[in-house]
Amino acid sequence: MSGQRDHGVFEAELSGRNFDARLTRRLLRWLLPYRGWLLASGALVVGASTLAVLMPVLMARVVIDGVLLPASTSAIEAPDFGTLELAHAFERATGIPPLASACLLYALFAAGWAILGHLQRMLLARAALGAIRDLRAELFAHLETLSASFYDKVAVGRVMTRVTNDVEVLLELFWGLGMLVGEILPFFLALALMWAADAQLAALLLLSIPITGIATWLFRRATRVVYRKIRQSVSKLNQNLQENLSGIGVVQTHVREARNLARYEQINDENRLEETHAVHLEVTYGAFVDSLSPLALGLILWFGGGHVLAELITLGTLILFARYTDLLFRPIVAIGEQYNVLYRAMASTERIFQLLDWQEEVVAPERPVRLPSRLTGRVEFRNLCFGYEPGHDVLHDISFSVEPGEKVAIVGATGSGKTTLMRLLSRFYDFDRGEILIDGVDVRQYDPRDLRSRLGSVLQDFHVFAGSVRENLSLGDPELSDAEVETAARLVHADHFIRTLPNGYETDLAERGANLSHGQRQLLTFARVLATDPEILILDEATSSIDPETERLIQEGLHRITEGRTSILIAHRLLTVQEADRVIVMQHGRIQEMGSHDELLARGGLYRTLYELQFIEEAA
């Protein structure tokens, strides 16, 4: 049964943990189908990083040590990681002078690095975007299975942002993590090379890493507090503005403009204070990070210079170290940036999985009864009781039957249970007391979705599906010919206005849906019923007022679609009631009166009073 769940969790903020291994593992499953691309991307990262790290070697060891300073350095053993040999081989192969050939090699490395990097990023993007696309598709498909009881209780906006914004945060995470690899790998490669070239100097430089790490950690911790305060003050600003705009008439007639502005300025000032604080922190950290690399340069010159003089390393190696300083501090800064994304992504992941794990549907039987190719259309309600929440029944012991081809109108005040009755027939909610039979079979033995395809539901408002008028009428049934669709439209007088649309039957309704009048929408739903030809019609009539001309068209259309079809009409207009063979009067979830319109009027009971009130409304 529905109703026992706590839908409040959809409104609540989730725990917002920092890192959750279980969530992460589950998240990675969506990347699994793209592991080939990810692996290839990883291989390319290794290639690109190697080239990136070797380019300074080429400059420092081959050009400077090898070509420009050969005499002074030949005595010193310094690693060149195969670049010298490669350069000599290249020189022999091309036959050009050493300097030119080294420069050419450098250019080739740069080109290789650019190409590999681009390919790597594209593979990574394809994998990340693909995984995100799949996750979205799965979420959307899941939303389609959730039952009406779910959508009754949760705010649609909140469900929507899970499919849109929360998934978008994950894209940022996947992409960010992928790019992080591209920052970290060159760092370790460079470190290894530096270690091989001068372990002492490398160790000295490494000392600065923890200092940077601590500074980054402190910065992130401080900004998290400030950013939260900023978010709070911004939401206060927005709330104030929104409320003021909504009540602008009251504001103006009460001459409150000056006071309101003063209050807004005060909140704005609080915000300015926090923003300034954030700027202060960001600038301090930014200036610190920017200083690291040139500071390291000083260290290298001082310490490394000593090693050169002591002939422990070559001058080229010193320059090599200097070239690497940029690579040293980038990963830490990048990790700091990713930290905020990770934090947000965990909260989003939690929300996404909460939705994916939410099982709330009308259960289909294990072995559903197959529907016959054509139902005769007899509907019977037997001792039906129902409540959305336990202990609060809205339907009490409902029993009546509708014969094949009969038209029954149900009338009653708002809250009398008419709509609930129809929702149960359409299997939007499960019930366990009483029965609803169609052609003598309990509706719970059919697959709900099969059953719904045989019930033509005309709800209060015509829902426009994305697509053309034609698609909206045929609902994508491939067996319906264009001519049949147009005949259906003609029979309910919808053909005329459809032809006045810019592209006739091919007009995209999603863009124009908003411009259709109420009456036109109603006619379209009628055409849809005629075209799809369901055995049983359920119509929940709209209450809005319509001009007399359209009213006449609708009346004729209604007559047409109910002809020879079992029809249950929730009626709000007199003409519709008069159309029915039989009228059922409901009140407080019970059937109070039943009979033909004339019989009930003559009886002078509840129906007569309702009728007269309605008549006065329509006449007024």
């Binding site: 050009v63 070509v67 420009l68 300097l99 080294a102 450098y106 740069a110 080109a111 650019a114 990023r121 693909g130 979205r136 598709a137 939303l143 389609e144 959508y151 469900v159 929507m160 849109t164 600003l237 503005l241 929104q242 705009l245 909504s246 009540g247 602008i248 008439g249 009251v250 103006q252 007639t253 009460h254 006071r259 502005l261 807004y264 300025e265 704005n268 300015r272 700027v279 600038v283 200036a287 610190f288 920017d290 200083s291 500071l295 340069l297 000083g298 010159l301 001082w302 003089l309 001058l315 010193l318 200097a322 939007f428 395809s453 829902h463 426009v464 609902l475 407080h588 009130l613 006449a619």
Partner: protein, 595 residues
């Protein structure tokens, strides 16, 4: 991009920090450019075998510290500018929006205005804080680095110039593509959101008609399209990230080769050669950032355009007070042939309405929905503007009064009760929070709010929640009435303020108001005959015109529209009463039927 010039006045207010900040950032670049100089001396010193390494390292540290200090102060000043401009713009926008009239708020929905206030001010802030700074810094960087390079070796520097226009040209073209593609991604995202919202909005129909599979297939198309748009953007971004340093490498190769030749020939030292490589980084930095910059500026310009579109709108209701209007309003209201319509509507809402309300008179206006009753009241507080000279208040054109005086003394109770999410007291005393306790309580009694308050644990201090959700419709209407009564205004306009309570309660509250109405001009609008029958005079409106007027008795005798409305409403009340009795009877039967 021209739209950005509109921001100049906002800069002008902070010129001191602007020049100071940017000046310091220039100083920081100079210190930055000194570092390769020291590196050069170090390398050359090592080559010569007599370096002052400690001194040089100290020099580098000093440069770093000086640069840090300059950046720390300068960058803060410039970024703070963004905060300040956002602060100023927010206040200005708020102040401006409060002066706008009905037409404006029909054109711009609250959601749209909120989006502009949040997103567009955010964009402007980023342009001011980062855009200006980065552009100047990049220019400084290039310029400073170039100067140092020319000082070192003019001929080598000249070799670097030819590829530059090519690099900048490509950066420019690519970033324009980037901008287009990022717009396409944003559009794709809103299409995606629309599709989900549309589907969830109609989920009952989707399920009722068994359309789940088709909807999933439709969503897949949008979803795939969004992926393609993203991929295109990533591709351009990635190409830019590959091409810019790739092209930059040609300059590095040029320095390596031609610089190398010069070192070999002894024309320049190895130190100079190394310093060149470092300066090259500074010169090429703007190239790498160009894409981001152009994007930032284009989006910022769009944000500025959207903001100033609002700020450039003149208030529809101009406040142009004329001398000679009285301080204290008596409430003699004359309308002469007033015809007004809402923009875009085909037929005017009010047609040729002529009416004279004497001071102290209670006038009632009766009519169906859409007959123009509310419009008439809105004209009197100038929420809507009537043609000049058609409405006189105490013998002066309504437009000659200062808005503040007019609205301060003509109190309107609107049809839709709007409450702010504050306490009941703050809502009642909305126009003047410092009002005395007695005045607020008296208003609560007169508006029948006092009874409601007794049932609330915190009484007047009860928080009503957003738009007053904690209160019922009738309670909200009472608060709104109290809010008007507390002002003791000489003219009171009631726009169907009791639609949410039944006719009897309405009549009762109105009867209670009778002593308060004494000496005040009161206009009551209602669709209920019971609410208007006690008035000094009743005006019946239909389709924007005055159809009938007179006292209750006169109108009933005239047997026109009023009499017809009176009969229908009486019959309806009777029927509703009968229906209630029948329902009660049925309920009793049920109860008896149950053991």
């Amino acid at each position: 991009m021209g739209a950005l010039l509109r921001l100049l006045p906002y800069y002008r207010r902070h010129l001191g920090p602007f020049w100071m900040g940017n000046g310091l950032l220039l100083v920081a670049r100079i210190f930055e450019a000194l570092i390769p100089q020291l590196l050069k001396q170090g390398i050359d010193g090592i080559g010569a075998g007599a370096p002052a390494l400690g001194l040089l390292a100290l020099g580098i540290t000093a440069c770093v510290l000086a640069r840090f200090a300059a950046i720390w102060v300068g960058r803060r000043a410039v970024r703070k500018l963004g905060v300040e401009v956002a602060f100023d713009l927010r206040n200005r926008l708020y102040e401006h929006l409060q002066r706008m009239g009905q037409g404006f708020f029909t054109r711009y929905r609250t959601g749209d205005l909120m989006a502009r206030a949040i997103n567009d001010i955010g964009l402007v802030r980023r342009v001011v804080a980062q855009g200006t700074r980065t552009v100047l810094v990049l220019l400084f960087s290039s310029a400073v680095a170039f100067s140092f390079m020319i000082a070192e070796s003019p001929s080598l520097t000249l070799l670097l110039i030819p590829p530059m226009p090519v690099i900048f040209g490509i950066a420019w073209l690519m970033s324009r593509r980037l901008y287009r593609e990022s717009l396409a991604v944003q559009e794709g995202f809103s299409t995606l959101s629309d599709r989900v919202q549309e589907n969830l909005g109609g989920i009952r129909t989707v399920q009722a008609l068994g359309q789940e599979e088709r909807e999933i297939a439709r969503f897949a198309v949008t979803n795939d399209d969004y992926l393609d748009r993203n991929l295109a953007l990533v591709r351009t971004n990635s190409l830019l990230a590959a091409l810019m340093p790739g092209l930059g490498a040609t300059s590095v190769v040029a320095v390596l080769y031609f610089g190398g030749l010069r070192v070999q020939s002894g024309e320049i030292s190895l130190g100079t050669f190394t310093a060149f490589v470092w300066y090259l980084n500074m010169v090429l930095w703007p190239v790498r950032e160009a894409g981001n910059m152009i994007n930032l500026f284009q989006r910022g310009a769009a944000g500025v355009a959207r903001l100033f579109e609002l700020l450039d709108t003149e208030p529809e209701i101009a406040d142009r007070p004329q001398p000679g209007v009285p301080e204290r309003i008596q409430g003699d209201i004359v309308l002469e042939g007033v015809t007004v319509g809402y923009p875009g509507a085909e037929v005017p809402t009010l047609r040729d309405v002529t009416l004279h309300v004497k001071p102290g008179e209670t006038l009632a206006i009766l009519g169906r929905i859409g007959s123009g009753k509310s419009t008439l009241l809105r004209l009197l507080v100038r929420l809507l503007e009537a043609p000049p000279g058609t409405i006189q208040l105490d013998g002066h054109d309504l437009r000659d009064y200062p808005l503040e005086r007019l609205r301060g003394q003509v109190a309107l109770v609107p049809q839709e009760p709007f409450l702010f999410s504050e306490s009941i007291r703050e809502n009642v005393s909305y126009d003047d929070p410092e009002r005395s306790e007695e005045a607020v309580e008296a208003a609560a009694v007169a508006s029948a709010l006092a009874e409601t308050l007794k049932g609330l644990p915190s009484g007047l201090e009860t928080e009503v929640g957003e738009r007053g959700v904690m209160l019922s419709g009738g309670q909200k209407q009472r608060v709104t009435l109290a809010r008007a009564l507390v002002r003791a205004a000489p003219v009171l306009l009631l726009d169907d303020p009791f639609s949410a309570v039944d006719a009897e309660t309405e009549a009762e509250i109105l009867a209670r108001l009778a002593p308060l109405r004494h000496g005040r001009t009161t206009i009551v609008v209602s669709h209920r005959v019971t609410a208007v029958r006690g008035a000094d005079r009743i005006v019946v409106m239909e389709e924007g015109r005055i159809a009938e007027q007179g006292t209750h008795l006169e109108l009933v005798q005239a047997d026109g529209l009023y009499a017809a409305l009176e009969r229908t409403q009486r019959r309806r009340a009777q029927l509703e009463h009968e229906l209630e009795e029948q329902e009660d009877a049925l309920n009793e039967q049920e109860e008896e039927g149950q053991p």
